[in-house]
Amino acid sequence: MGDQEDLNQIMGLGTRHQLVIAHDNPYVDLALDGVAPSLLQAPGWRDWGIEFFSLSKGWCLGGLRLGFAVGAAPLIAALRQTKAVIDFNQSLALQQGGIMALQEFAHWPGQLRPIFRERRDRVVRLLSNRGWTIASPDMAMYLWMPLPAAAKARGWSDEQTAAELLRRSGVALTPGSGFGASGRDWLRMALVRPVDELELAAQRLMDALDE
């Protein structure tokens, strides 16, 4: 996700070299600490920038496939032209529901932030207390977990570790390598259950690693 200064520099490169900068920002509503970075804060976006937003994350509407883009007028026109020939867009009623949500309930995602914040803090604390140190993310609903020492000692990859943890504890994590080379040796935990269930999962994970 980076920070605002990174985006400013990237947008500056785009402006200088006349390159389109497209920024996917689905978690903009889920800044757990501080303010979410946005391309729309970066000078030059009105000429060469476009940013994509989703109602799947901050609005809990994952199944409805709703999103929108804000950007330079020619880019929006091009996007509209492209989508006109590759799909029929989402149903009009769902779009209208999304518009109504954004217009009249803009505060709504704010209710999710303390929930995710508490989940993040309690799980990170529990795992850290038992020896698995994990950086606390300032955005979104995921913990990115480096391979634990017990897994490294056994020579397990992230995929092997996820499989072993699933078999031993019944807790499913996502192997980071599925997202590409940069995810290798990482696991991802989605904080999508109530906090007591997440803590139970964390305890089961640590018990499994201690076996």
Partner: protein, 151 residues
């Protein structure tokens, strides 16, 4: 159901293998009464778990929010499209969509309910508008793609 090579190749096959391992765990756990799967590899907002745990009936949820109705035409000629407007204390919240195809009746209703953690979203599919029971038993909107052919 067989999946295509292309689908299996997503995430270099990591996600497909992970899904297979989860399914195997579920089956094994149910047979041997092992601890239930806690799936933290998915991307689901917090309201979904609440919806499953509560398991409340559609009729209760519908009565909580009330409904209004509207009519709108879509460009697709084989569909007659309507939407309902969700009302809560006479204030519109979201429009509740349903659609009826000419070839196979299918009505989808998006149900909204307040919970302690926010709103619960569910999409219920009915085989006909007069059907007393929804055909799928009720699913959260994140569990499938709308209009994916479930009906």
């Amino acid at each position: 159901m067989p999946t295509s090579k292309r689908l299996n190749a997503l995430g270099s096959g990591v996600f497909a293998r992970s899904d297979a391992a989860k399914q195997a765990y579920r089956e094994n756990a149910s047979q041997q009464a092992g601890p239930a799967l806690i799936d933290l590899s998915i991307v689901t907002p917090p309201a979904r778990a609440t919806a499953f745990r509560q398991g409340s009936s559609p009729s209760i949820e519908l009565s909580l929010i009330g409904v209004g109705s509207g009519l709108e035409l879509m460009s697709t000629p084989t569909e007659k499209f309507n939407y309902w407007l969700a009302l809560r204390k006479a204030q519109p919240i979201f429009r509740l969509p349903f659609w009826i195809t000419e070839t196979r009746p299918c009505i989808s209703i998006l149900v909204i309910r307040r919970t302690q953690e926010g709103f619960t979203w569910r999409v219920l599919l009915f085989s006909s508008f007069l059907s007393p029971r929804n055909t799928t038993g009720g699913q959260t909107c994140n569990a499938f793609e709308p209009r994916s052919g479930i009906c």
